[in-house]
Symmetry: C2
Subunit: 317 residues, 2 copies
């Protein structure tokens, strides 16, 4: 059975049972999820960016979860090397374009004379790594487990959007998919790798985070490497740049980066966990995002796009 | 022919002709659009909010375009009355929830003793006004002109999204639709009317603007009254509130509103224009948003959601 045929079969399955009289809001479903449904995120999958304190002297820490295999591991290997080398320390946030992205790295990166030398041994990753291949035809078990990719796809109640099919991997990541390809999608908070024109794919030294409506046109055109899981407001509230593409025109406008470290090198880092995307609570949560039945709502939408179902992530309890 | 049948027929039409060798980016298509394709926005359809200057003393003006008929005119009439009465002067921005909304009005609005008295004669608008009715079956001309609603729907190249069908009205507004109903959708920058639990629909005195991924679950559940067309960054960069739902916990955190005025009462207001959604350039722009073929891209998305096709708006040239 092909993946798309499987998805179509799932889509035709009956509606969920009649909701209870007092329907829960998505946040209430998440709050009620039992501890066993939460999955720890390894510190080794975290990247911690400390910006210079704000004008009031408050610290600004941004915590990023890096994508697990099979996605983008070439760039992520580079990013870990750069963090180990403290390469970003003293660089800055150089761009903030409203409803699009905040971008950071070497402000002189495009200047062949002044550019900061990169760490040695960084991989040059091919464009083919923007997505992962799956076999067109393969045996699947009831949960949709594919032999080759080895992760099931969890469907949204209405999983087809303007861009095609989408779903969640068993390890909690939103992806787009066709019959033979799966790729991480660009949602609010997604972190990706800045690059020049193709076939350049970037090294990972130049990174961006999405601060607006999901720019899904970037999917499969640029490497997704992670998502912001704490401190997003330190990026989304940055003053917008007034130069082309939201780049800051002058150096003082840039926000200094004190350090970027691998999570395993940050002693005071709390543990984080996400609500397992194969859990019963996640299914209820996704259904409630698509069909709000709590007291504030009078008209359930009847569908939802994947970037409007953010995977719940919190400090581990 | 039903509206949905019409849409299906349009969707089955052939692909656009082969793109030129050097394809333009959406912004380039917009920049090249002839003057005749741009449509002036009347000053009477504008609402101008002046916030207190920022810490550096820079003015912060937010310009909002109000929705034309047939949508939300009851609330918009109230908003014009409140602006004429200078009702908002001295109120504040009271909420900023990351990836959701910024909200403003009377910070004591929920306090029956301290709440500021509203202007007299405000309409109480029924929930049915969240959308406009169209007839299920009606004669349409080639452009899809409906007898009753009197505006054609312009299709996106892939106009069906997770929430159903969507398109643009002839007057430049993104809408969702079924066979018998059309409603304005919630995208980044959309302005709507805060309210209490249903059947309350709000007066228009409490307003919000979307600062994150499109919260389409609000469609048909709350009144959309406009969109921010200039100064969006003055809202999107506000510090996020740390109380429940992003409300500020203390009064000093709130941003004071100096004034909100109808556009006709603002002498120094520039004129604005939007790229007509029935124009050839808009069709090319929407197609390019769905299928990027400019040099940076290697994989056109093959579709786009309506909130990822923001209607181009600029100061009138």
């Amino acid at each position: 059975m092909s993946l798309l045929a499987l998805l179509a079969a799932v889509a035709a399955s009956p509606e969920p049972a009649t909701p209870p009289a007092k329907a829960l809001a998505p946040a209430e479903i998440v709050a009620a999820a039992p501890a066993a449904e939460w999955v720890a995120i390894a510190a080794s999958d975290l990247l911690v960016m400390d910006l210079a304190p704000d004008n009031a002297g408050h610290p600004r820490r941004v915590v990023i979860q890096l994508l697990p295999a099979p996605f983008s591991q070439g760039w992520i290997g580079n990013i870990r090397k750069l963090a180990t080398a403290h390469w970003w320390d003293g660089t800055s946030i150089n761009r903030a374009q409203d409803n699009y992205v905040v971008q950071w790295g070497d402000p002189d990166g495009e200047d062949k004379v002044k550019a900061k030398a990169l760490s040695e041994g960084l991989a040059v990753v091919p464009q083919s790594e923007y997505s992962a291949k799956v076999r067109t035809e393969y045996p699947v078990d009831a949960a949709g487990m594919a032999e080759e990719v080895r992760f099931p796809i969890v469907n949204l109640p209405h999983y087809q959007d303007s861009y095609g099919y989408s779903g969640f991997t068993s390890f909690g990541w939103p992806v787009g998919l066709t019959d033979d390809t799966v790729w991480p999608v660009h949602c609010y908070g997604t972190v990706g790798v800045g690059r020049n024109e193709p076939p350049d794919t970037g090294t990972g030294a130049e990174l961006y985070a999405v601060i607006g409506h999901a720019p899904r046109q970037l999917d499969r055109n640029i490497a997704v490497v992670g998502r912001v899981i704490e401190g997003m407001e330190h990026l989304s509230t940055l003053p917008r740049g007034t130069g082309d593409l939201g780049f800051y025109k002058t150096a003082p406008e840039r926000t200094p980066i004190r350090s970027i470290r691998n999570g395993t090198d940050v002693p005071d880092l709390p543990a984080f966990e996400y609500l397992g995307t194969e859990s019963a609570s996640f299914a209820r949560y996704a259904d409630a995002r698509a069909n709000r039945r709590d007291a504030f709502y009078i008209q359930p939408a009847g569908g939802v796009d994947i970037c409007n179902v953010p995977v719940p992530i919190r400090r581990r309890k």
